[in-house]
């Protein structure tokens, strides 16, 4: 890309977000674990404020990489606190708040998982990639705490994010999976919270955008928090 093209491309993307800001819409990146929950919050938020939010989901690591490379998001609902902190350090965020506390559970394709399932006869345990996804890191910590991380080597399979880990179990390819409680069906085993560092999820505002700012504010209202807890997250 030469200089002129570069200037054109950056001014085009700048134009795109100033248009969004002016028309009361926002583009929000959301960690895979929270995507369904965020979607569930939108109707109420949009109806009461008149703003419009478009969501893009991915793994927290992937979205962070996109944002540091100039992705046009107005806000970012991360799956951890580390990436939002890095964005703040780099001067890329305007405002930061904690909106959810994630919970890790063990699920089984056929239902009825328990702590003993991890000792049982199975071929594959699906987790999110610990290097990319906060729930993957929590899964690794929990398995280390249980003294199983080494023993299960070769049987652990990784999805790029917690949604893919869930899909590997739901499709029957892996018998067990450590996933977000927001994903798991009934009959899962809640992993004791002492086994992993708290999965506190932070949201950051990336650009001056009234719709995005209002959405972040809305996340901490009692109504939104009740919906978030009902979706399988812990109390803040």
């Amino acid at each position: 890309m030469d200089r002129r093209q570069f200037l054109f491309a950056s001014s085009a993307s700048a134009a795109a977000w100033s248009v969004r800001a002016a028309t009361g819409s926002a583009l929000v990146a959301v960690a895979a674990n929270f995507a369904k929950t965020a979607e569930g919050l939108l109707p109420m938020f949009e109806a009461s404020t008149g703003y419009q939010i478009t969501l893009s989901s991915g793994s927290t690591g992937q979205l962070y990489g996109q944002i540091t490379n100039g992705a046009p998001y107005d806000a970012f609902l991360a799956g951890d606190q580390a990436r939002p902190a890095l964005l703040a350090q780099a001067g890329l965020s305007l405002n930061r708040l904690t909106y959810a506390r994630g919970l890790l559970v063990l699920m089984q394709a056929e239902g009825g998982a328990s702590e003993a399932s991890l000792q049982g006869d199975f071929n594959h345990l699906a987790i999110a990639n610990p290097a990319l996804a906060p729930y993957g890191l929590a899964a690794k910590q929990a398995l280390e705490k249980l003294g199983l991380w080494q023993a299960l080597e070769g049987r652990i399979v990784m999805g790029q994010n917690v949604g893919q880990a869930y899909a590997l179990v739901a499709s029957g390819n892996a018998e067990l999976g450590l996933v977000a409680r927001s994903y798991a069906p009934a009959g899962h085993w809640p992993v004791p919270e002492a086994y992993y560092a708290p999965i506190l999820q932070d949201a950051v505002l990336l650009r001056e955008n009234p719709a995005a700012a209002a959405f972040l504010e809305y996340l901490n209202t009692e109504a939104a928090q009740a919906t978030i807890r009902a979706a399988g997250y812990g109390a803040l």
Partner: protein
């Protein structure tokens, strides 16, 4: 800067090698049949063969995820016979890659066989060569550019495979963690130094292989007649 872990590259080379060998075995008779048949079903088989060119890898990956699952007929039979699932295994990746790269083998071979035409085969038959004899000693040498192109394209296409592996591989080191997945992960965790190193190795490797093939292809012109 530390040296990159080259195991994913080696795994990709093995996957591409095994897949290409399998495709030579499956693709040769299929391409010959497509080049010579007058059956009405031919356009259907041609369309099916070309599908992986058009379908996004996510669609293939999604269907493989369903097909390989022990809950499906194929996945269930496989698990009962072998004791392991096709997903998350090297064997599973070979099967998925063979379908994914099928058109890259079959189409060049089919064109090459069509260019051979009926004449040389009929000439061989009048000299009392058996059908297989004529195929091996007449058609195959004449179609050797097709074999070269098909082999290189299948190999290269499989080295570059990403989407399907991402969906059914499970990122297991030494089994399914191929080079494209390793690079993707390094980019995601912002380890740009390692990503640069592996990408440069892959770029150099791919260019060298292609250069070698085009050079050899020039030195060995096909003699017809």
């Amino acid at each position: 800067m530390s040296w990159p872990d080259l195991a994913p590259l080696w795994l990709s080379v093995q996957l591409a090698g095994v897949t290409t060998a399998l495709l030579l075995i499956i693709g040769t008779p299929l391409a010959w049949w497509l080049a010579t048949t007058r059956a009405r079903i031919r356009p259907f088989i041609e369309a099916i063969t070309a599908l992986p060119l058009v379908l996004p890898p996510t669609v293939l990956g999604f269907y493989f995820l369903i097909l390989f699952s022990p809950n499906s007929t194929l996945g269930g039979l496989w698990r009962d016979a072998i004791g392991a699932t096709l997903t998350f295994s090297f064997t599973g990746l070979v099967l998925a890659s063979a379908l994914y790269s099928l058109p890259f083998m079959v189409q060049p071979l089919q064109s090459a066989f069509e260019a051979v035409g009926r004449g040389p085969m009929e000439a061989a038959a009048t000299l009392r060569a058996g059908k297989l004899d004529a195929f091996i000693n007449v058609a195959m040498p004449m179609a050797r550019r097709g074999f070269l192109t098909g082999t290189v394209l299948s190999f290269a296409h499989t080295i570059g495979e990403f989407g399907v592996v991402l969906m059914v591989g499970g990122n297991i080191p030494g089994q399914t963690r191929v080079i494209s997945i390793a690079i993707y992960e390094q980019v995601e965790v912002l380890d740009y130094a390692q990503a640069h190193a592996l990408s440069a190795v892959l770029l150099t490797f791919s260019f060298t292989v292609l250069l070698l093939v085009y050079t050899l292809n020039r030195r060995a012109p096909v003699r017809v007649g």
